[in-house]
């Protein structure tokens, strides 16, 4: 009964969300619409210090933000923690104890009391940048997703203790978990070693998928098009591959069997470089796919406001709708590809070769 109510509430929320973000789009008529849309998209791709769903400008010219602030944590001769509402979205200077901070192009700089920010020739701020450990929108979202996955999966695991037939959310998730095991892990890693890697593969699959899907909701979340996030995911894959690798893996990199001696010397640096390129391509693929999807989707939505005719706008709406459905596929596909390639790399790390024959 309770779960039904939750589902209804979530559904209602998702149906309401588009209207909220639509309202956000129709702001400030009169100014150059094209550059404004460009700035809007640029802003969407950046990480922010507060969780704002949308913003608008009142008739009096005051910017209003709907959302909630998040904590800012800076290390600047001591720990400084304050709410991001103090920064006022870069419109005023935040005073913390005896120091002043200002937001400029999405980054926090240390300033004087007037908030002057000096620029060099290439228009980069020259002010001191304190070490930033803030809970930004991305960090907040990652934490939320981590808690969500932990709750959902630990509850699901508990139901299997008493009954091997899945119940509740397990009925949807069990086939997916089995799919990751039977179609991603076992064929690529092999029956002997796959169990060690299952926890990582499942975590990465569901984490990337959930976050990609959240990026398609009008909450304006975009975690996987932050290259730092995909970098960390790729680094994890790299570290696991490197530290669980067996003798054969290293032998195939530094002293490739079955190849003439001179060739082995040539192959070793190439193979070594390959171990870095593999996680690098993982990082770029996820980041670029999601970023490109978001840019195209937002540009199409932006076109609606440029055309201002019912024909053009409805056309771009339909295009945006179709692309949105494609992005649903891409969200799952990228999670699948990331997991699949990770499994492939793990597989190559634990593979045991039969060296009686040359290959």
């Amino acid at each position: 009964m309770r779960s039904k109510l939750t589902i209804r509430l979530i559904t209602l929320l998702f149906f309401l969300m588009p209207f909220l973000s639509m309202a956000g789009g129709e702001k400030a008529a009169g100014t150059d619409l094209k550059s404004e849309i460009k700035a809007y998209i640029q802003h969407h791709l950046e990480d922010t210090y507060d969780f704002s769903l949308y913003s608008y400008t009142t008739d009096e010219g005051v910017h209003k933000y709907i959302g909630f602030p998040l904590p800012v944590i800076l290390w600047d001769n001591g720990l400084r923690v304050f709410s991001s509402s103090k920064l006022h979205h870069g419109e005023s200077v935040a005073q913390v104890d005896d120091a002043f901070y200002k937001l400029d192009h999405g980054k926090i700089y240390k300033t004087d009391a007037d908030g002057t920010i000096t620029y060099d020739e290439s228009h980069h701020a020259t002010n001191v940048k304190p070490l930033d450990f803030s809970i930004t929108k991305n960090v907040f979202t990652i934490m939320m997703v981590a808690v969500l996955l932990l709750v959902v999966f630990s509850r699901m695991a508990k139901t299997y203790k008493s009954n091997s037939i899945p119940s509740g959310i397990g009925r949807i998730l069990e086939p997916i978990v089995l799919y990751v095991r039977d179609d991603i892990a076992i064929p690529n890693i092999g029956k002997k070693h796959y169990k060690r890697y299952m926890s990582y593969l499942l975590t990465v699959f569901f984490f990337v998928w959930t976050i990609n899907l959240l990026g398609l909701t009008p909450l304006g979340i975009n975690v996987t098009n932050n290259i730092a996030v995909t970098f960390c995911l790729a680094i994890l894959t790299y570290l696991i591959t490197t530290f669980t690798a067996k003798k054969d893996y290293w032998m195939h990199i530094f002293w490739m069997p079955g190849v003439p001696k001179l060739m082995r010397l040539v192959l070793a640096p190439i193979e070594l470089l390959g171990t870095f390129i593999k996680p690098f391509s993982l990082m770029i693929r996820l980041y670029a796919n999601i970023t490109a999807g978001h840019i195209v989707l937002m540009s199409l939505i932006g076109l609606m406001f440029i055309f201002k005719s019912w024909l053009g706008s409805s056309l771009s709406f339909m295009l945006a709708f179709a692309l949105g459905i494609l992005e649903l596929l891409v969200a799952a596909l990228q999670a699948y590809i990331f997991t699949m390639l990770s499994a492939l790399y793990f597989g190559s790390a634990v593979e045991e070769h039969d060296h009686d024959h040359a290959h």
Binding site: I284, Y336, M340
Partner: protein, 63 residues
């Protein structure tokens, strides 16, 4: 004469597009010939397409 880097990026994206198209086409033919192996073919197709796509995106961001 200096050629803007975006032209190079465009060329690479054309190449990547042709590559992914060929992979898709060949996979279709293979599935038509052996429908019972469609699962394996799809997996291999996706991996190959993803690898090419990586290059395409790298070029796009460099350009």
């Amino acid at each position: 004469m200096e050629i803007p880097s975006i032209v190079g990026a465009g060329l690479i994206v054309i190449g990547a597009g042709v590559g992914i198209g060929r992979i898709g086409g060949s996979a279709m033919e293979a599935i038509a010939r052996q429908p019972e192996a469609s699962g394996k073919i799809q997996t291999a197709m996706l991996i190959a397409a993803a690898l090419i796509e990586g290059i395409g995106f790298a070029a796009l961001f460099a350009g």
